[in-house]
Amino acid sequence: MEEKKREDQNADVITCEAKSSFSDFWKLEDYWAIWLGFLLLIIGIVIYFPRGPADMQETIANANATLEAESQRAPFKTIAWYQAVDAKTGLKATSSQLGKKIKNFLSKPKKWSANPLNALFINEEAAEAVQAKAMVKYEAARKKGAAALEKAKAAEDAASAAGFNDETLNAEASNVIDAWRAAHTKASKAESKIDAHSYNLIPSLICIMIALAVFFGIGWKIMGNSMTKFMAGFVFIFFMAILAYIAEGNATMKNYGIGYAAWAILFGLIISNTVGTPKWVMPAVQTEYYIKTGLVLLGAEILFGKILLIGVPGIFVAWVVTPTVLISTYIFGQKVVKIPSKTLNMTISADMSVCGVSAAIATAAACRAKKEELTLAVGFSLVFTSIMMIAMPAVIKLVGMPYILGGAWMGGTIDSTGAVAAAGAFLSQRALYVAATIKMIQNVLIGVIAFGVAVYWCARVECVPGQKVRAMEIWHRFPKFVLGFITASVVFSVVYEYLGSDVSHALIDHGAIRGLSKIFRGWFFCLAFVSIGLATNFRELKKYFKGGKPFILYVCGQSFNLMLTLLMAYIMFYLVFPEITARI
């Protein structure tokens, strides 16, 4: 599509006359986002698919045989059942030698408490101190885990001796095994911290910066721009992205759920609204270029097979309530609150009803929202996520709500994915499993929402009222990167199902995705958010707060979301499918 942009001097308005040509394939950033995203996905597949653990098939077969036998032997999940699951969980292509090297090389700034420089490097002496501290924690957790296992074995043996016919002994064994799992999880996490060693991330970060500058610069050059100017500005953008990751790594900020997205926007805003964004940086302030490439990579993480994880209740809570809330909030925003900007209305609605920042990014890009609108949506998500993460588990405990219902409720309503894990785990491990599963199913919805919004915007919003839009016109206007996003999702979903979930966990989940594409996707989103901040004026943001309309929209939408999700979760998990709740 050739976009002829005419800037209105007063209103900063751009008009588009859309038509397509063959040269779009190398002249449009939408297509470049697809080519670059696919390139990284192919590299991930080539690296990790041949590097599955050597005994993978045998381990899976043995674990499944044990699971089948244990499921028939006892009316609850036995110790052997959990150990078989653990055996499958340990299968990861990222555990290969090359996988570990890649992970170390692509490591982003690490967690720190008092000294921000520890995010980038730590010497032997300091590493030993960290190791010693972690070892004390691990020893305590290991002892608790071992004691809990002994108790669990005794309780399971007692239930087994009664032929699993004594309901009281069965219930007691199930509870004691749950306690062992909680202690075991804690010990496993503590164990992962004891191999702390010295590091210096500066050389690898410089390499990543050069690689990404060339990676994006080539496309930029072929699109007819100056690669040299782009690369000079990119150094500054990348430096700001590192600062955002360092801020995210602060232990206190991490615990509040304040991630790199918020820091990247904030740091960019501070620079642009104080000393001003240097002119030589502006060629690299390419928000859409980074965001679209990141979204193509995100497509590979949208695996449709996961929507059936928890059966029909999960689909109803995540895939019926969420679109209902999204559409209702959008209509409410237009008809009642009368939000002047449709794109702001849609971005906030998606951010609030689907899954926070990631949904806001995808929707904003699909409907071509303004950068200030995305900033606002991210800000709301940040504030409300922190509040809900703290308040919801407290309310659930206070009113004595069943934890599985509470988990489903939080999974469907708390915006941010990380906050869902924190709030769910705070209640119980089963609450975490339900909350995480519901949120994961909701995460997958991003693909459908982004595609639907892109089509709706092309066919209905960006056209003259009353005028019928031809199919070709929709095609011309359609944001093409969405095709790459959907293609990546469909291809990875098909391969995932073809390989089977056990093998896919090892080669895709803990291979091509977590081993490569997820890491780059994080960098690309971070670069995009820095760019948004660097190109935004506080005064432009202020006008969106007029009358508090976005706030009213968010609060009303979230209130409706809270009520509908709770109602649906109760109906599904306690009235229609209580047998699924009992299994969890």
Partner: protein, 100 residues
């Protein structure tokens, strides 16, 4: 169509440079850095210790949960939940007295 997320904010920077003296602009930058420092090292740790917030923040810290994760692939707890649910659905306990 209005300016999309791709559009430039050159005007922002140029406008600022034109109207604000250099010293004042740098002073504003340092003020912002100070506010962030105060939030990160004074206000947030203080709120962390209040009775309403302390339990969950302590829990997150002790259990190494990444509460800032944006997507399910960024957090290990989601993978554990997925594997658990998958195996619960495929190998649900159905021995003697019914499942628990």
């Amino acid at each position: 169509m209005e300016t999309t997320i791709s559009q430039r904010g050159v005007g922002t920077s140029l406008g600022l440079r034109r109207f604000l003296p250099l010293a004042w602009r740098w002073a504003r930058l340092f003020l912002c850095i100070f506010i962030i420092w105060a939030f990160m090292f004074i206000a947030a740790p203080w709120v962390e210790k209040t009775p309403a917030v302390a339990p969950i923040i302590c829990f997150i810290d002790e259990n190494y949960i990444d509460a800032s994760a944006l997507y399910y692939t960024e957090i290990e707890e989601f993978f554990e939940a997925e594997i658990h649910m998958e195996n619960t659905m495929n190998f649900a306990p159905r021995g003697h007295s019914g499942s628990l």
